[in-house]
Symmetry: C2
Amino acid sequence: MARLRVHAFTITLDGFGTGAGQRVDAPFGDGVEGLHDWMMPSFRGEGTGVDDAAFRAGEQDIGATIMGRNMFGPVRGDWPDESWRGWWGEDPPYHHDVFVLTHHARPSLSMDGGTTFHFLEATPTDVLARATEAAGGKDVRLGGGVATVRAFLSEGLVDELNLVIAPILAGAGERLFEGLDALPTGYRVASLVPGGSGAVHVQVVRR
Amino acid sequence: MARLRVHAFTITLDGFGTGAGQRVDAPFGDGVEGLHDWMMPSFRGEGTGVDDAAFRAGEQDIGATIMGRNMFGPVRGDWPDESWRGWWGEDPPYHHDVFVLTHHARPSLSMDGGTTFHFLEATPTDVLARATEAAGGKDVRLGGGVATVRAFLSEGLVDELNLVIAPILAGAGERLFEGLDALPTGYRVASLVPGGSGAVHVQVVRR
């Protein structure tokens, strides 16, 4: 049975997944410098220990990805044209079908390396069905942003939520745990484990 | 120079210091079972390691305590009489002057073992001045509840904030980090360290 997994989703000590003021040159907003420091060695192929294991776990046995539009790019409202092709260049690090949730339709976009972005307006349940089919027996990874993860959590669709708490304070921004009053009825904290970077890795699973 | 210190203040993974529905038989509200499990061995005199060190640190070199009224008791509004004498019995574990912030005046209350509760309506700055004087050169400890800690944090009066993140989800309640947008300008996260209990100990200090 395919599972829906969130990996490497990082929040500040005060609970924010993004700071205030998200924009093209600050995709995570202000006040969150250092949010992803824990994964930088892994990006350079020099990761070690718990931090690196958490980074790599997000790439294992994944056959499709779901993300919100803000994770695909900074454009809001109607697409002015199709020139924005994601944050990742011509060979995005997915190599499978990526489903981008948006209220603004656009043709699918095939990139180098086997990544195809599909743009759709659909409920979490429906997009998960599409992604599960595309994953061909592997799991589906749910990317960000904050609102997207919350939407799937609040419908109980996430099987495994792997978070990281970064040792920083943002003060303001978008909270992950907001309006999720019923979360404890379906989920529990399985572990809190420190990484060598000073961040803490948290696994939340179904009860 | 006397410092204002918060110790052993415990929040859930989703950021709540109390659950919803605080009342006499549930002083921390609902959905927070296990919030203080990390300190139970220390209460029994059987604590070990990081958890026990964090518990004991809160008792070292403290000459006075400040707390909000809800930490003193469940009574809201006017005191019907003076029969409520705190949650701790006739010999409270303070053994010094304790300043209880309340809008409802009441005579000071001397207990066994050297604890005296003073009830006052005052700004955080003013109560800190009173407590600092009473502490006689030692530090002042700031207890809860959530609103009290937030009030002192937002005025930049806390010197050291020792938090614990418990491995539970509350879903709702009172958040510690709410309305503290300017916090990062004055404070930074010094460390995140796991305790043997599964909780994580966090130290927030001045920049």
